[in-house]
Symmetry: C2
Subunit: 478 residues, 2 copies
Amino acid sequence: MENKMTATTEKLDAVLQNVDAHLDTSVSRLFELLRIPSISTQPAHAADCRKAADWMRHELESLGMKADIRDVHWAAPGHPMVVGHDKGTKGKDERPHVLFYGHYDVQPTDPESLWKAPPFDPQLIEEPSGRKVIVARGASDDKGQVMTFLEACRAWKQVTGSLPVKVSVLLEGEEECGGSNLFPFLKANAAELKADVALVCDTSMADRKTPGITTSLRGMIAEEVLIQCASHDLHSGLYGNAASNPIAVLCQALATLRNAEGGVTLPGFYDGIQEPAPATRAQWSKLFPNDQSLLDEAGLSVAAGEKAYSAIEQTWCRPSCEINGISGGYEDEGFKTVLPAKAMAKVSFRLVPGQDPDRIREAFRNHIRAALPSDARVTFTGHGGSPGFEVSRDSRFLAPALKALTDEWGVPAATVGSGGSIPVAGEVRDALGLDALMIGFAQNDDRIHSPNEQYGLDSFHKGIRSWVRVIAALADAG
Amino acid sequence: MENKMTATTEKLDAVLQNVDAHLDTSVSRLFELLRIPSISTQPAHAADCRKAADWMRHELESLGMKADIRDVHWAAPGHPMVVGHDKGTKGKDERPHVLFYGHYDVQPTDPESLWKAPPFDPQLIEEPSGRKVIVARGASDDKGQVMTFLEACRAWKQVTGSLPVKVSVLLEGEEECGGSNLFPFLKANAAELKADVALVCDTSMADRKTPGITTSLRGMIAEEVLIQCASHDLHSGLYGNAASNPIAVLCQALATLRNAEGGVTLPGFYDGIQEPAPATRAQWSKLFPNDQSLLDEAGLSVAAGEKAYSAIEQTWCRPSCEINGISGGYEDEGFKTVLPAKAMAKVSFRLVPGQDPDRIREAFRNHIRAALPSDARVTFTGHGGSPGFEVSRDSRFLAPALKALTDEWGVPAATVGSGGSIPVAGEVRDALGLDALMIGFAQNDDRIHSPNEQYGLDSFHKGIRSWVRVIAALADAG
């Protein structure tokens, strides 16, 4: 062990210098990828998703990996997986084997009018503070983050000719559309994808200066609700009062999802949830002594949800209910006195460990059904469905990875929660028996899923350097 | 009087025969007008509105009237008025002088996908029952109805060379967009437009077989409500729970506009309202012995509003509150876990006599303001604003007009209410001191304001014949 540690540590400085020297070409490669509008939820962009997958396959091959595109067929939309294995991953040497996961698909770009530049025309912009940021859809979520790992591999290969760990890569194209092909794909290819640990780069730093490994994630269920009353749109003068209004029905049903204390009212919603450990709460309250640092970035001043929890606790370890979209009647300029036939809402629940996605989906549907007058019909369309997740603290890779991040950033790395839902962490555990180390360099003000999504050039640069160090640390921990 | 009555009555049969003989060319003229997409609420169609005004001016001139287009400048959007006077309206002969009002603008056409043919490509379709209907946006509201009157004038002129009453015509282009130029226009041109009675053709029959004169109308205020919380769209994972959700805020505020009994909750909303007279209620309950005839046409089975009133009472003499549109977050295909920065709703109130539009607008705004959490801001945009209206029963023209309608349809004509808002009736009273006879031939299943708007060929044909008779009756009542 002693010799091996010395051997990789000696090379580390040279690899880090290689990263610094080639940052411009690393950015150029990322820009190529960002130009592909791989919006997975919109059928019109299916060919772009395949184009992004193909770009990724080529990228893995350029790193000396054996890579290919795998069609998936369990559920629509069926955007393909990209799988790559570095040379020697099947070998019998002692190097630990990592499975890196990321996704090449991105969110829709609406409202387009709020983008300062076209969302798929990446820009490197210098902010008034002097900080440089990469602006494009997917810059942070997840193309920029994926490329931090691949560029770290490139640097190791350029300097040493090989990687100190065995590397397999799995990139999916349905992360942003609640696709359900990942888990069956993992199960069907378990023998091939089995490794010693999974690495996931799709999360944020603890704060702007503090690196973090995310050890808990919220799961999610999402539901589209369509309420229909009359057989066709009506004139609100001729029918107003007497005909059921589906927008009003929908508002009534949605307005009672939370109580006055900010809690979700569905029966059994909080069953099975553990409070966070006091030590964890203490660590978080040190990172976020008040709610303002989170809310300021959103232009808000008061935490809206459960009054008994801080804003960071609300997003890292408490389940939520949000209305993500609503639509009905006349939405354009001016006024139209229509009494519409239907109205639609999109509602999602972020879940924490202990909550059962299926039971909560059914409780939500029952809540809506109970609110319907006799002339209203409802149609539900389910999207996604993943439980909350907590990483095992026992992984032998956790401490070395925290140490590597601490070395790069000069600040003790923290274990944090994330309000987002990254189903892969639970799925690699359930399908492959692997712990997942979730290491990411995004910032809360990256505007992911929003117009003008960005990724700091510092996130990208120090992210690559971080992975160079983590790869070395995992090799030593092998 | 005796001689004059005989004189007009003798000619009546010949004029009615002329209507029957030229129905095809009357339909062709209406189709020309229906091809002009004069959607007044959409700025992109401003030129089409002017085109429709010009078509109308030309039509009035072809009837031998002196007609012109008058620009209006009191408020946007400023679609022009068309004014025409038949020869001799300034003369000193004894003929009564009528001012006919209609509008050449139409509602938007969304959702376009539900139209069986393009909305501005009028079709004459034979239904399975054998009834023929004209399908196009504006077929019923109000282009088809306006043309019933003008075609009646044409028939009188073709047969007798003149009209038995003095006729002035006023056609506006802002009826469907809550325009506020009509009243100042009437005031500014009161000397020119003053007549003995106003005729308005923008209402429905009492039922499919019973002609009606509408003697009460609901007024309306309309409000657009924009709720803004965060400074930009947020990721619902990173902010869900902790950030105010403007869709949820909006749903909460709108859900409390009605109570469990279907009543509107705004303080003072029902102040000043008179119950309908027992005789009126009796007449209506004879026309509509149950709610089903109204609801069936909408594909509904249960009246939704105030439980103490029948469906027809709810729409003819009770005020309403309807959400006409709602919008926020991600509304497209698939799912996007956005926590949006803003949400919008369009809400209108139909008012009955006794209610003060300004006070109710303010009560609504206060209701919304009171529902806002501290991080939510609201912007209101007011549309329209007219009180409810009741026609004087004392008009010497009412009974002759009812008699003329009874003669044409073979069923006693009824005095009815209308749930719609036709501000002109109140405005001609207030600006010109005129009673308005509201006579229309629309049916509740005309789908006005909805896809596949239609006007029965029977409505159009017997509507023209009805006006031929009403014109004669008014001449005799002069």
